[in-house]
């Protein structure tokens, strides 16, 4: 197995994994999307809300706000000592109070007061609601850990995807150097070098096969390598992307250990 990181920028990471099966990489992708836990607002107590948005819509908007999640600090409230009731060990409380004065007041996610400075909205500029004079909201919300399996608001990523790596197979004996393939490529990654057609950026290839179709002499073949993958993960800012990938693999380990233990007790 070989891993190489191509790009790490903002909330994005791209890497190549070589020497694994499609099943493994797909399990990893699914784990990242559905089982890596993050914090999200789950319960809302509305003390007052006379704005134009209904309580339910307001609560839904609040739930979708991504929150920064310190790794390993909080666990699921079902596994907590409080047995899912909610306590400071598994819940974070936010309070928000805002009233429009003379003009229009915009309620931002930065107006929340969090009980834990490590768990805050990823951006302070998220517009929650606009208030006009005489409108006022006062709410108390509880955030807890959850997984994307239960609700998409707990998903730590927007993009978690992989594609096969491309192998460019060029037959110089069949090629007539008509350069139709170069024109056909939508990504413009083919180039003529002397008497050969070469691919200058194999990672950008989308495996669309347009070059092979454009060639009347079958000089080009695009092969998919199903042991080598380009994996892209784009986080939301809750957890850094490299940590998301690591946590996903750890979840897979935990699951296998659990099954192994169960098998041991069953066979005994």
């Amino acid at each position: 197995m070989d891993v190489e990181i191509i790009e790490r920028d903002g909330n994005r990471i791209r890497f190549i994994v070589e020497g694994v099966s499609p099943a493994f990489i797909n399990s990893l992708r699914r784990t990242i999307m559905a089982e890596v836990p993050t914090m999200a607002i789950d319960e809302v107590v509305i003390v007052e809300n006379n704005s134009v948005l209904f309580d339910e819509i307001l609560a839904h908007r609040l739930g979708l706000i991504p929150l920064t999640t310190p790794e390993g600090k909080y666990g699921f409230s079902e596994d907590c000592d409080c047995q899912g009731v909610g306590c400071p060990k598994c819940n974070v409380t936010f309070t928000l109070k805002k009233e429009a004065g003379e003009g229009i007041a915009v309620v931002y996610s930065g107006d929340f007061e969090s009980s834990d400075p490590e768990v805050v909205p990823v951006s302070p500029d998220i517009v929650i609601i606009r208030l006009v004079p005489r409108q006022r909201i006062e709410i108390e919300v509880f955030a807890k850990m959850g997984t994307g399996k239960d609700h998409a608001k707990w998903q730590p990523v927007t993009v978690s995807a992989y594609k096969y790596c491309m192998e460019f197979d060029f037959d110089s004996e069949k090629c007539t150097l008509c350069e139709d393939c170069i024109e056909a490529c939508p990504k413009q990654i083919l180039k003529r070098e002397g008497d050969e057609i070469v691919c200058i950026d194999p990672l950008a290839c989308t495996l669309c096969d347009a070059c092979a179709e454009a060639c009347d002499f079958d000089a080009i073949k695009i092969n998919e390598n199903d042991t080598k993958f380009i994996f892209t993960v784009e986080g939301l800012g809750c957890i850094p992307p490299e940590s998301i990938v690591r946590q996903a693999a750890q979840i897979l380990i935990k699951k296998s250990q659990e099954l192994e233990e169960q098998m041991k007790t069953m066979s005994a």
Binding site: R61, S123, R130, E234
Partner: protein, 62 residues
Amino acid sequence: MEIPIRCFTCGNLIADKFEEFAKRVKKGEDPGKILDDLGLKRYCCRTMIITHIEIIGEISRF
């Protein structure tokens, strides 16, 4: 009404970007360039911002 918190398609956060977008479009900048600046690469998120009409100011009087 109000700008949605996340992109309907991919789940990316967009509610913190609309105000800046609207402000800069009013100044006469090229909308496509602003979206690039804001880091919205996919067309799903871009559509969310471009097609949004803010009417909450009109209805909040009632």
